[in-house]
């Protein structure tokens, strides 16, 4: 029995086209030439050197790559970079000034020990930022429901709920 496994189909190799876009990330304007199939996640990490946003599943399953696009939480691994022309993007690097005071939410994450390895933390912070923008005083049940799409394999969930609750109380 010798079935041939041959995937060498040249038609499967997509022609590479690129597009020039302009977008705002954390208040800075960037101009970038991006291949048409590049995700926003890869643009941020590989072209703009903003590696705070993490790649975990790259399939929209885990929430780790969550960023704010025009104020709304979106999964950057499922967002094509070329679709972000003119967009206003906010990432974890934009939650506080470098070396400056942390946002109440960031500080609450530290105080509540709301992370262990920290790899999901940027996504958690961005989802929580979006939650508090939509609902400044969520109940614990509302926090749990809203945040259920942001997985944490270390199991820091109870600290995350505490942190968001604390941050919400600080307004």
């Amino acid at each position: 029995m010798r079935p041939t496994h041959d995937e060498s189909d040249h038609t499967l190799v997509a022609p590479t086209t690129s597009r020039s876009i302009q977008l705002t990330v954390n208040g800075e304007t960037y101009q970038a030439t991006v291949p048409s199939r590049r995700t926003l996640l890869d643009l941020l990490r590989d072209q703009l050197a903003l590696t705070g946003t993490k790649k975990v599943c790259d399939m929209g399953h885990c929430g780790a790559c969550t960023i704010l696009r025009d104020g709304k939480a979106v999964l950057s691994c499922l967002t094509l970079a070329t679709a972000c022309d003119g967009a206003d993007i906010r990432t974890v690097e934009g939650l506080s000034a470098p070396g400056g005071a942390l946002s109440p939410l960031q500080q609450a994450f530290i105080d509540a020990d709301a992370f262990q390895c920290g790899f999901c933390t940027p996504g958690q912070l961005m989802s929580a930022t979006a939650l508090l923008a939509e609902n400044p005083t969520p109940s614990r049940e509302e926090i749990r429901a809203y945040m259920a799409g942001n997985l944490c394999r270390c199991g820091a969930y109870s600290g995350i709920v505490d942190a968001i609750e604390r941050a919400s109380q600080q307004g």
Binding site: D6, L50, T51, K54, D113, F115, F119, P122, G155, S158
Partner: protein
């Protein structure tokens, strides 16, 4: 006076001897009841700011100039031989800078010599065929489609029982099952006379229990970035063991270890899977050398779940006998462990049966079985989670039949000393764990049912206990530097995989030095900077590295006092240091800071050296008990864990806040394994069907129950001089058993196969009809 000694070190149930350097006498142990300034106080993580701002740079984030990206062509069959391989199409694609495969790679032995870095015979779907390095990841992936491979498909086995059966096709050069040095199948342990024990038993519980293959799903996948500078290679690697990677890469590339620098400053989880060195750690440097460019080779989520390790499935045949008055008289356990294609060891599934309870007659037999699936690896208390699930389920069944209280029954069978070695333990506070867990559970009152969706919910309570190692040992070394600006640096080749080691061990250094925590900077995860430290596995880091850090701090403090003695004009032993300031003992005035003193002596830098001393001869164990409250919906078979109370004896607690997080995390992963986690394999094709985070279920925030966690917090001064034992693994161990027993309490169904999915529970509930049915139980 430097001397060399031999000492025994136990890691995850396996004991080996180490020959280690002892630099000088060790300090006296921090006694029980001692007042501390830093140790035992809840501290925020010292790297918290970096982790919440995106400033923490993980290996995945490294981006040296000229970076290439690697993508991998993987075998689509569970067992096949490459008949023909043509990579020329890939090599011609613009943007491709290098391709490595069996056609051009040198023969580097892998998997203990059973295979090669690029072998012709491939033993699981996902094994490496060719690796492409290109200017970007999309191009590298495109190139894979241009590689032509012809495979001869070979017989494959993915079922553990079929692979172990006589007459099964051989799938590994060393056979399908693990054999000992004399060629005997499996691993046998026996004490007393089990047959006689069962004759004495009034009640016998017997059953087959199974646990699923669980996938770690560390959030940062395995992988690395490799870059050469001259004849030296730097590898930013997501690993639990930088020195392990260094040694493996150096031997594979046949270069001295000092030419390999492995850096792992931040690691996105490991849970045991990153203690091993996978092929990418060697392939990335090879591709980088071939192309003259740095290479990033990170697994994607699918790959991570195929080949980076797993908690292998177990099938356990367990028989436990007790007398009418509740004394255990016999335990017999036969276990099959699925160790995947290239496993070389079996997890310590029989450990709890051998040690957790006093029992004169015990026989265990463990057989590691190879299958055409990704190899297993350590996964948070490997073996003990699985073995405890079966044993503690049987204990629950026994005490139901005998009409005993679960905790009283366990206390009655309390084992004073280690029945395997015949020695006393360094410490054992299991009785205290039972009492505290029981009290906390009682104080908490009935669990809240708030938030449960509508259903016919039944509530139940169950418990489980835990034994595990966690003593660590030498070699482990550390340096403590006191700088002339008053800052302190701890330098150590350990790793912080998310456990909070940086913080807890900074507390140890600050405590010993008498300085505030915020002047301490803990530098870890760099083979070129840090003295040797062991892998971050087996709950060994705190008890191995902690004492080394304390000794280094003590050495540095001594040197500081000798320098200060010149300026204070009193002997060094009359000086004290507190909050970073030196004074004459008993006086407050005239205090001088470390920076002030050192800048007067030519910006002198003090370097203190520390080591971990030899282990005591007594075995060391961690202990604990958990009580779970669950709700079961009779209509859907859905289980909700409402609350888990966890109490563990892990010696002295360094940072209560960090420890609580470890407990929460262990419990959560235990819930996952009990209720949802299961790598699904299609037996017909031998392929994994759910190698992603959508179909492989891990607990979400909505699954997180109320958790009440506590440490007994009594120092083990016989274990080491900081009195701490390991804490990372104990909290996952009793969780599945406690939940399974709580499910029985709720609906009268004895769960013997994990995970307890709604489907599986409904199938059991239907014949049992209702919890009060005569047919309930399995």
């Amino acid at each position: 006076m430097t001397r060399v000694v031999k000492t025994k070190v136990e890691i995850e149930g396996r004991v080996h001897e180490e020959t280690v350097v002892v630099e000088r006498d060790e300090p006296a142990a921090w006694e029980a009841g001692r007042e501390f300034a830093q140790v035992g106080k809840s501290a925020n993580r010292v790297d918290g700011r970096d982790r919440v701002t995106g400033a923490a740079h993980y290996s995945y984030d490294m981006h040296p100039a000229g970076l290439l990206y690697a993508a991998v062509l993987r075998c689509p069959h569970p067992h096949a031989r490459i008949v023909a391989l043509d990579t020329s199409g890939a090599e011609r694609l613009p943007g491709v800078r290098g391709v490595l495969s069996k056609n051009n790679a040198s023969d580097i032995p892998w998997y203990g010599g059973a295979s090669k870095l690029f072998d012709e015979e491939l033993r699981f779907a996902g094994e490496e065929v060719a690796v492409v390095a290109a200017d970007d990841l999309d191009t590298a992936r495109d190139a894979l489609k241009l590689i032509k491979v012809e495979y001869e498909v070979l017989p494959a086995l993915v079922d553990v029982e079929k692979a172990a059966a006589p007459g099964a096709p051989t799938i590994h050069p060393k056979g399908n099952v693990l054999v000992d040095e004399e060629g005997k199948r499996g691993d046998e342990f026996s004490r007393g006379d089990v047959a006689q024990g069962f004759r004495e038993a009034d009640v016998i519980v017997e059953g087959t229990y199974s646990t699923p293959t669980a996938l770690h799903n560390s959030f940062e996948t395995h992988g690395c970035v490799a870059a050469w500078e001259g004849d030296e290679v730097t590898i930013w690697e997501s690993t639990q063991y930088i020195f392990g990677v260094r040694g493996r890469v150096a031997s594979a590339l046949k270069i001295p270890v000092s030419k390999v620098r492995v850096i792992s400053e931040y690691i996105g989880g490991g849970f045991g899977s990153k203690g091993q060195t996978l092929k990418h750690s060697v392939i990335a440097p090879l591709l980088s050398r071939m192309t003259g460019r740095p290479v990033k080779y990170m697994l994607d989520r699918h790959e991570e779940n195929l080949l980076s390790g797993n908690r292998g499935q177990t099938v356990q045949k367990l028989r436990v006998g007790a007398t009418r008055d509740g004394n255990l008289v016999a335990i017999e356990l036969e276990t099959l462990c699925n160790i995947g294609a290239y496993g070389t060891w079996a997890a310590s599934v029989p450990g709890p049966a051998q040690e957790l309870y006093r029992c004169p007659n015990v026989r265990t037999y463990t057989l590691g079985v190879r299958t055409n699936l990704g190899s297993h690896s350590a996964f948070r208390a490997p073996g003990h989670v699985e073995g405890t699930f079966a044993l503690e389920s049987a204990m629950d069944e026994l005490c139901r039949q005998l009409g005993k209280d679960p905790i009283e029954f366990r206390k009655k069978n309390y084992a004073e000393g280690d029945q395997v070695s015949g020695k006393a333990y360094t410490s054992k506070y299991l009785l205290e764990s039972y009492d505290l867990a029981e009290r906390l559970h009682a104080d908490a009152g009935p669990p809240s049912l708030e938030g449960l969706p509508p259903g016919n919910w039944r509530v139940g309570t169950g418990m489980g206990s835990q034994v595990w190692s966690g003593g660590g040992g030498p070699p482990a070394h550390a340096l403590v530097r006191l700088n002339s600006d008053g800052t302190v640096e701890v330098i150590c080749g350990t790793q912080d995989i998310g456990t909070g080691i940086r913080t807890a061990l900074s507390q140890v250094a600050a405590e010993e030095l008498g300085v505030p925590l915020d002047v301490v900077r803990f530098r870890l995860g760099d083979t070129q900077k840090g003295p040797f430290a062991p892998a971050s596995w087996g709950s060994i880091t705190v008890p191995s590295v902690g004492p080394a850090v304390r000794v280094a701090a003590e050495d540095a403090k001594q040197q500081l006092m000798e320098i200060a003695s010149y300026f204070f004009e009193v002997p060094a032993d009359q000086l004290q240091i507190k909050d970073g300031h030196v004074t004459v003992e008993g006086r407050e005035e005239g205090k001088r800071s470390i920076g002030d003193l050192l800048s007067e002596v030519g910006d002198y830098m003090i370097v203190g050296k520390g080591f971990r001393g030899p282990n005591p001869v007594e075995p060391l164990r961690t202990w604990g008990a958990q009580i779970a409250d669950v709700a079961v919906d009779l209509e859907t078979g859905r289980v909700r864990v409402l609350r888990v109370v966890a109490v563990h004896d892990v010696g002295r607690v360094l940072n209560p806040k960090g420890l609580e997080s470890q407990f929460y995390g262990g419990i959560l992963q235990g819930i996952g394994m009990t209720l949802m986690e299961d790598r699904v394999v299609d037996e017909r094709t031998g392929l994994v069907l759910n190698a992603n985070l959508q179909d492989y279920k891990v607990p979400t925030m909505a699954d997180s129950p109320e958790m009440i966690v506590r440490a007994v917090d009594i120092p083990d001064t016989a274990a080491n001089h900081i009195g701490s034992k390991g804490a990372g693994e104990p909290p996952i161990i009793p969780t599945p058993a406690a939940i399974a027993n709580a499910i029985y309490d709720a609906v009268g169904v004895r769960v013997r196969h994990l995970p307890v999915t709604p489907k599986r529970l409904l199938e059991t509930l239907v014949p049992a009809q209702l919890p009060w049915s005569e047919e309930s139980g399995s």
